[in-house]
Amino acid sequence: MRKVITLIGSLMMLGIFLWAFAYTSPTLNVEMFTYYTENFIQDTGAYNAVAAILLNYRLFDTLFEALMLLISVIGIIYFSRHGGEDHG
């Protein structure tokens, strides 16, 4: 019974989402797309645009992404039933 109700609820939410989605604006502007694809080789010397973005344009994100892995390792050790106390 609960599953049926939640299923109907989810479908209604999906309906609302799609209703709003139908009115969602099309692409208005692609300035970053153009900028990156035109300039990344001159700017960074990399031929892989993704690497150029990760390490040059949006380096700040990458730093925190690496931090995320570090923190999650600490978290895994900390939340484990075994050990963790001997750290730090």
């Binding site: 609820g9 692409t27 502007n29 300035e31 797309f33 994100d61 925190f64 995320m68 923190i71 600490i74």
Partner: protein, 532 residues
């Protein structure tokens, strides 16, 4: 001017180095780091106050290709608040046992993440910062292993992760439509949008997680779990309640600004703010755990802030903003003093704690100062911000709503205040000098922030507000009336109520919390689809 990225990167770097070092003076070094951070934040604030907003492109990539950090006056004030509070917290725990290197590492990284959230002008960067912050907070709130509340931590983590996935989805829509991630650039490009309807979905996707972070009405069930859990050290509760929740409010203001001109939901959030304030105070009334009373009180105060910033009036807006700063001071003071009281009495039940005033006079005095601040007693900081919020809404419904919320605040703090009276012989109250000096400074800040409130708003936000003396006197009289009614209500009704006990037992399960998130999202979407 100290580079803004430096404020974010340097604490992380130094924290990791300190973690790896085998030095005995790690705590001292982190306090020195904090002193430096406070100095840097003040220098930046003065620079920004004189020269206006600073925008810094990390790595020097302009044309919005890189990530931009934006230091405007509001952001600088929040950064200053962050550094001052963190310095206070580290001094407070200078002699505490459980503060080891791991704690310092996480705590200092949390500080730079909060600073990053305040300074960043890039939506995806904010997402990354919040995600890292969520994991750190979930470790920190479970830090005392002896009373580990793993259920609370897990609910906190998963609820926030679910919300942040929605945020990411919203970023996807924004990027698809506008082609940039910089918040100022998006605001500039808003004029391209033809009808508000075409932005409803991204707006709802972004505002739902932000409302959850700011603990608005149906979405606050994670907050007492995080702020009131027994395993959280009191400085973590203080930081979370005083500052981290404000990150949500801050993002709310930023996102409203970003969509301003296209989507205006101030009426909607005004009502939600009122509901948040009311529900928060009712739940606070029901609690018997002193940390949970304070946690629910935070929800109620957030309702007040939301009313202030969504009421279309400059005075109310600046009152709301000033209340953010004030709330940071008095709520962290209250959490710290509550932590000291819990450490002395080894219980959190309000019925079992008696006679704190005799035992710990300084702690009690400071607590009472903070309580006077929170309830908006004349001359205290809360009164200035509450006066400003109310001054714009003379005679409207919200004027009375605010008086009502304040009455509720008085009533639940009447309950809280009972712990100071009476006698108790069993426990030894010891407060070391570091903790005492920190709470004294924070408590006095509540008083000073009230005496020089007008001047502080001018100083911090370059905003002249006028406080009418006669109206202020009237408000003071209203306050004293509220106090009297509050005492009567507490004595006659609350102290004997059975209903409140039953309300306390209600708790949403994880599935229901997710359901409320989705309901909030759907209702917001439908509301916007109807009005536009």
């Amino acid at each position: 001017m100290i580079n803004l990225y430096f404020l974010i990167i340097m604490p992380i770097l130094i924290a990791v180095i300190l973690y790896l070092s085998t030095n005995k003076w790690v705590k001292l070094f982190s306090i020195i780091l904090q002193v430096f951070m406070v100095a840097a934040a003040i220098i930046n604030f003065i620079f920004v106050k004189i020269n206006g907003e600073v925008i810094e492109y990390i790595g020097g990539w302009e044309h919005y290709a890189g990530i931009a950090l934006r230091g405007d006056l509001f952001a600088c004030v929040m950064v200053m608040l962050t550094t001052i509070l963190f310095l206070g917290m580290l001094i407070f725990t200078y002699t505490t046992r459980y503060i080891n290197k791991l704690f310092l590492l996480l705590f200092v990284i949390l500080q730079s993440l909060i600073i990053g959230i305040f300074l960043s002008n890039d939506l995806f960067n904010i997402y990354v910062l919040i995600e890292v912050g969520t994991i750190i907070v979930s470790i920190l709130i479970m830090f005392k292993k002896d009373s580990q509340a793993i259920y609370d931590g897990m609910v906190y983590l998963l609820v926030n992760i679910v919300a942040m996935i929605m945020f990411l989805f919203g970023i996807g829509f924004i990027y698809k439509i506008f082609g940039v991630l910089d918040m100022y650039r998006i605001q500039e490009l808003m004029h391209l949008v033809e009808s508000p309807r075409s932005l409803i979905l991204p707006y709802a996707l972004l505002i739902t997680p932000v409302a959850l972070k700011g603990a608005l009405m149906p979405l606050f069930s994670w907050l007492p779990k995080a702020h009131g859990t027994p395993s959280a050290p009191s400085i973590v509760s203080a930081i979370l309640s005083g500052l981290y929740v404000k990150g949500g409010i801050y993002l709310f203001i930023r996102i409203q600004q970003m969509f301003s001109g296209v989507i205006d939901t101030s009426q909607y959030f005004l009502i939600l703010g009122f509901l948040t304030g009311t529900v928060g105070l009712f739940l606070a009334l029901c609690q018997t755990d002193i940390k949970l009373i304070l946690a629910y009180s935070t929800i109620s105060q957030i309702g007040l802030i939301m009313i202030g910033i969504n009421f279309n009036d400059p005075n109310a807006y600046w009152g709301g903003i000033y209340h953010i700063v004030n709330h940071a001071f008095f709520k962290s003071t209250l959490f710290l003093t509550a932590g000291l009281i819990i450490d002395t009495y080894h219980t959190r039940n309000i019925g079992e704690i008696r006679g704190v005033f005799r035992k710990m006079p300084v702690v009690s005095t400071i607590s009472i100062l903070a309580i006077l601040g929170v309830t908006g007693a004349p001359l205290f900081n809360g009164s200035i911000s509450k006066y400003l919020i109310q001054s714009g809404m003379q005679g409207t419904f919200y004027d009375y709503a605010l008086i009502f919320i304040n009455l509720g605040t008085v009533v639940y703090f009447m309950k809280y205040i009972t712990i100071f009276f009476g006698k108790d012989e069993n426990h030894e109250g010891v407060v070391d000098k570091y903790s005492r000096s920190v709470i004294v400074v924070l408590g006095l800040a509540c008083f000073v922030g009230g005496l020089y409130g007008q001047w502080f708003i001018k100083l911090l936000f370059n905003q002249a507000v006028d406080i009418d003396v006669i109206l202020y006197m009237k408000k003071s009289i209203v306050y004293f009336l509220t106090l009297v009614i509050g005492v009567i209500v507490y004595r006659r009704v609350v102290a004997h109520s059975k209903l409140l006990h039953r309300v306390r037992e209600i708790e949403l399960s994880f599935n229901n919390i997710c359901f409320t998130i989705m309901i909030f999202f759907s209702v917001t979407t439908v509301y916007l689809m109807i009005i536009y």
